[in-house]
C-alpha cells in the first residue's frame, strides 16, 4: 500500500527550475532514499512533501491526502527532521521535546510517556535536564530526530540528518533510524553519504539538477553499471593530452567506460584485475607518472559517477 505518491512534481523560483518533473512513490513501511549532491533539489522536494510550500506543478499525496490542498491534515501523519538543528538552545532536552510534543497536541500523561520513550530511543535519558547548548553536535542531532517522532508519525522524513557529526553519533542515529523502520515506520531519507543510504534504504532515487535520474533498489542500480568496479588512477599534475590517452585506452575498454577528470582517470570494468596492468602501461607510455591506483567495488557512488560524470561530493 502506497503511503507517498508524487507525480510530475515541478518547482520554479523565478527563472530557476529547482525540481523538473519528479515522480516516484513509496510503500508503507519502506525505507526510501533520495540521493544526490548538494543543490540537486532534495530539500526542495522534502519541503514540498512536508507542505511547507506548494509545487509549481504536479501532485503529492500522503496516505491519499492531497498535501497541497490539506497540508495540516497530511502533516499529522509525518515527522520531519530538518537539515539544521531545529531546537531551542536555552531549553533542556526534555523541555524541547515537551514543547514539540505540545505542538502536535500531545498533553498530560501521554506527553510525559512519549517524551520518556523518545529520550530512551535517542539514548539521552541521563542528559534530559541539560540545556541543548551544553550538548555536542551529535547529541543535538539525536534530540533533533527525537522531536520529530514524539507523535509517532507513520512516515519520518529526514533531510541529511547526520551532517557534521562524529562517527559514534552517526552510528547511533543510523541504528535508531533502522530500528524505527523495523518497527514499521516509513522512512524518507535524503543524504549525499552513499554509505548511509546503502545501509538504511531498500529503494533509492538519485537526484541531479532537479531531475530523478535513476530509481530502484541498490541491486537494480548496481546493475545499471553492469555491476562493474572502478579503477581509479591518479596521475601527476603535469600536462596530459586527454584525447590521446582516451584513444589509447579504447584498445582495452569501451569509450563510455572511461572518465578523465583533472588528473584522475576512472575506468569501469567487471574484472579490473585483468586490465590493470594494461592501463598502467598505457598511462606511463603516454608520459604520465602514476601517483596512486585504487580499485573500488561497485556502489552508489559508481552509479552516480556513471550517470552524471560527477562525484556525489562535487
Amino acid at each position: 500500500m502506497k503511503i507517498l505518491s508524487i507525480r510530475e512534481l515541478r518547482k520554479s523560483f523565478g527563472n530557476f527550475e529547482a525540481v523538473k518533473g519528479v515522480s516516484f512513490s513509496v510503500e508503507k513501511g519502506e525505507s526510501f532514499s533520495l540521493l544526490g549532491p548538494n543543490g540537486a533539489g532534495k530539500s526542495t522536494i522534502i519541503n514540498m512533501m512536508s507542505g511547507l510550500y506548494p509545487p509549481t506543478l504536479g501532485s503529492i499525496e500522503i496516505n491519499g491526502i492531497n498535501v497541497i490542498k490539506n497540508p495540516k491534515q497530511a502533516q499529522k501523519m509525518i515527522g520531519v527532521v530538518p537539515q539544521e538543528i531545529a531546537l531551542y538552545e536555552a531549553l533542556s532536552a526534555k523541555e524541547n521535546l515537551k514543547f514539540w510534543g505540545r505542538m502536535y497536541n500531545l498533553s498530560g500523561k501521554e506527553l510525559e510517556k512519549s517524551v520518556d520513550e523518545v529520550l530512551e530511543i535517542i539514548g539521552l535519558t541521563e542528559r534530559a535536564k541539560d540545556k541543548i547548548k551544553t550538548f555536542s553536535g551529535g547529541m543535538k542531532r539525536r534530540v533533533n530526530i527525537g522531536a520529530a517522532i514524539l507523535h509517532q508519525p507513520e512516515m519520518l522524513i529526514m533531510d541529511e540528518p547526520t551532517v557534521g557529526i562524529d562517527p559514534q553519533s552517526r552510528n547511533h542515529i543510523l541504528d535508531t533510524v533502522k530500528r524505527l523502520n523495523d518497527e514499521g515506520m516509513t522512512i524518507i531519507y535524503t543524504s549525499h553519504y552513499m554509505e548511509e543510504v546503502e545501509y538504511l534504504c531498500e529503494r533509492i532515487g538519485i537526484i541531479d539538477h532537479g531531475e530523478l535520474i535513476a530509481l530502484g533498489t541498490l541491486r537494480e542500480l548496481r546493475e545499471m553499471i553492469g555491476d562493474r568496479s572502478r579503477v581509479i588512477v591518479t596521475m601527476d599534475k603535469g600536462y596530459s593530452n586527454q584525447v590521446e590517452m582516451k584513444n589509447l585506452l579504447e584498445s582495452v575498454v569501451t569509450e563510455k567506460d572511461i572518465l578523465i577528470k583533472d588528473h584522475q582517470l576512472t575506468v569501469f570494468h567487471k574484472e579490473p584485475q585483468l586490465i590493470l596492468s594494461d592501463i598502467i602501461q598505457l598511462v606511463t607510455s603516454n608520459g604520465k607518472r602514476i601517483t596512486s591506483v585504487e580499485i573500488i567495488e561497485p556502489n552508489l557512488e559508481s552509479v552516480f559517477l556513471h550517470l552524471t560524470g560527477r562525484s556525489l561530493r562535487d
Binding site: F13, A86, N105
Partner: protein
C-alpha cells in the same frame, strides 16, 4: 489556542533564562528614568531659581476700549517679546488649551477693562492657569498689576477725556484687578520625574518589543520555524503565541517601571489605577502589533536590528520620549498621537494630571484598534511569505 499559549510560554522561559535580557528589561529603564529625571528636572518643574524660558500667554481680549489691546500688544507682545509669546484665542478655546496642558497661563480681558481702569472701578481681567503654574503666572500677574497702576496716572497726566476718580491704593488695585482661576481643581502639574517615567517607560516598551520581534525573526531564519510550520501550529497560532509572549513580557516591564518609579522616586501615576492598567494593556497591544507586523515583513535579524533600533529612536523622538512635548507646536503634539508611543505617553500624562478611566477610553480604543490592524496585516503577510522561498 493552547498551541499559542505554549509558544508564548516557551518565549517567556527563554527570556527569563537570558540574564542579560532580563537585566535590560527591568533595571535599565529605572536607571535611565532616574538619570534623565534628575538631569532635565528644571525644564519641567518651574522652579523659581532657574532661568525662565520664553513661554506662550493665551489672551482673550473682550475689551471694548483700547487698554486691553495696549496691554496685550504693546506690553506683552512688544515690550516683553523676549519672554512672552502672545496667542489670541476664543474664551472656550483658551480654557480647553489650559485644561489640556497645552498652555499654562492665559488671561481673559473683560469688555469693561478700559472703562474700569479709567474710572478706578473694579478692574475686570481673569488670569487662568494650570495649578502651580509657578513663575510664569507670577510674571503675568506682576505685569498686569504694573499696567493697572500706571494707566490711571498716565491718563491724568495726558488729560484724557474721561474724568478719573481718585486712584485706589496700588495694593487694593492689584487685589481687585485680577481674579485668578486655576483650571480644574483636579488637574495636577506633571513633574520631571513623572514625565520621564512615562516617556522612558514608553520608549523601553518599544525597545522590548523590538527585542522580542528580533528573536521572532531569528526563529524565522532558522529551521525551528520550518519545524513549527510542519507541526499542527497554524500561522494564526504562531503569531498569536508570539503576540501573547510579547504582551506578557512588555506588561511585566511596564508594571516594573510604574511600581518601581512610584516606590523608588515617588512618581505619581495619577489616581486612576484602572486607567493606568487599561492604557498599559492597550499600548502594549498596539506596540506588539506593530512589532509583529515589522517581524512578518523583515526577513533577516540583522536587517531588523538595524531598522528596529533606528525606528525606535525615531518613534521615541517623535512621540515625546526624548524632549518634552510641550516645547513642540500644538499640531505636532496632536500628530504624535498617531504613533502608538505618542498616544500612550500623552494618555499617561493625562492620567497623571488627574484624568479618569472614562476620559481616556477613546485613546485606549484607538490604541487597541491600531494593534489589531497591525496584527492582521502581519498575519496576511506571514501566510503568503513562504510560497516563493527557495529551500
Amino acid at each position: 489556542m493552547m498551541a499559542s499559549i505554549w509558544v508564548a510560554w516557551k518565549d517567556l522561559l527563554i527570556v527569563i533564562r537570558d540574564k542579560h535580557a532580563f537585566l535590560t528589561l527591568i533595571a535599565m529603564p529605572l536607571l535611565l528614568i532616574a538619570i534623565l529625571g534628575a538631569a532635565f528636572g528644571d525644564m519641567m518643574d518651574g522652579d523659581e531659581d532657574v532661568t525662565i524660558k520664553k513661554f506662550t500667554l493665551g489672551v482673550v481680549n473682550l475689551d471694548k476700549g483700547q487698554l486691553g489691546k495696549v496691554l496685550s500688544e504693546e506690553v506683552f507682545m512688544n515690550e516683553l517679546s523676549d519672554q512672552i509669546q502672545v496667542k489670541y484665542y476664543q474664551e472656550e478655546e483658551l480654557y480647553k488649551k489650559i485644561k489640556d496642558h497645552k498652555l499654562e497661563v492665559g488671561i481673559v480681558i473683560d469688555e469693561d477693562f478700559t472703562a474700569s481702569l479709567m474710572t478706578g472701578e473694579q478692574a475686570q481681567a481673569k488670569l487662568i492657569t494650570v495649578p502651580d503654574s509657578g513663575i510664569k503666572a507670577t510674571i503675568v500677574t506682576t505685569v498686569i498689576e504694573q499696567f493697572a497702576q500706571t494707566i490711571p496716572i498716565k491718563a491724568m497726566s495726558e488729560n484724557l477725556a474721561q474724568p478719573v476718580q481718585a486712584s485706589p491704593s496700588s495694593d487694593e488695585s492689584s487685589q481687585e484687578l485680577l481674579h485668578e482661576t486655576a483650571i480644574d481643581s483636579t488637574t495636577k502639574p506633571v513633574s520631571s520625574f513623572q514625565y520621564y517615567a512615562a516617556a522612558m517607560g514608553v520608549m523601553f516598551l518599544l525597545m522590548t518589543v523590538v527585542q522580542g520581534v528580533s528573536t521572532m525573526i531569528l526563529e524565522k531564519e532558522h529551521e525551528v520555524f520550518k519545524r513549527l510550520l510542519v507541526s499542527n501550529l497554524t500561522y494564526l497560532n504562531y503569531l498569536t503565541g508570539k503576540m501573547i509572549g510579547l504582551i506578557v513580557i512588555s506588561l511585566t516591564q511596564a508594571f516594573v517601571i510604574i511600581i518601581g518609579t512610584k516606590v523608588l522616586f515617588g512618581v505619581e501615576w495619577g489616581n486612576s489605577i484602572s486607567g493606568i492598567v487599561v492604557m498599559t494593556f492597550a499600548f502594549v497591544i498596539s506596540a506588539c502589533g506593530l512589532g509583529v507586523l515589522a517581524g512578518s515583513f523583515i526577513k533577516t535579524e540583522k536587517a531588523f536590528n538595524a531598522a528596529g533600533m533606528l525606528g525606535t529612536q525615531i518613534f521615541a523622538a517623535l512621540g515625546g520620549s526624548m524632549a518634552p512635548l510641550y516645547i513642540f507646536p500644538d499640531w505636532f503634539v496632536s500628530a504624535a498621537k498617531i504613533l502608538p508611543n505618542g498616544l500612550a505617553l500623552q494618555t499617561y500624562l493625562d492620567l497623571m494630571s488627574g484624568a479618569t478611566l472614562s476620559e481616556i477610553i477613546p485613546a485606549v480604543l484607538g490604541s487597541v484598534a491600531l494593534g489589531i490592524f497591525f496584527f492582521a496585516i502581519g498575519l496576511v503577510r506571514l501566510s503568503t511569505e513562504r510560497r516563493g522561498k527557495y529551500a
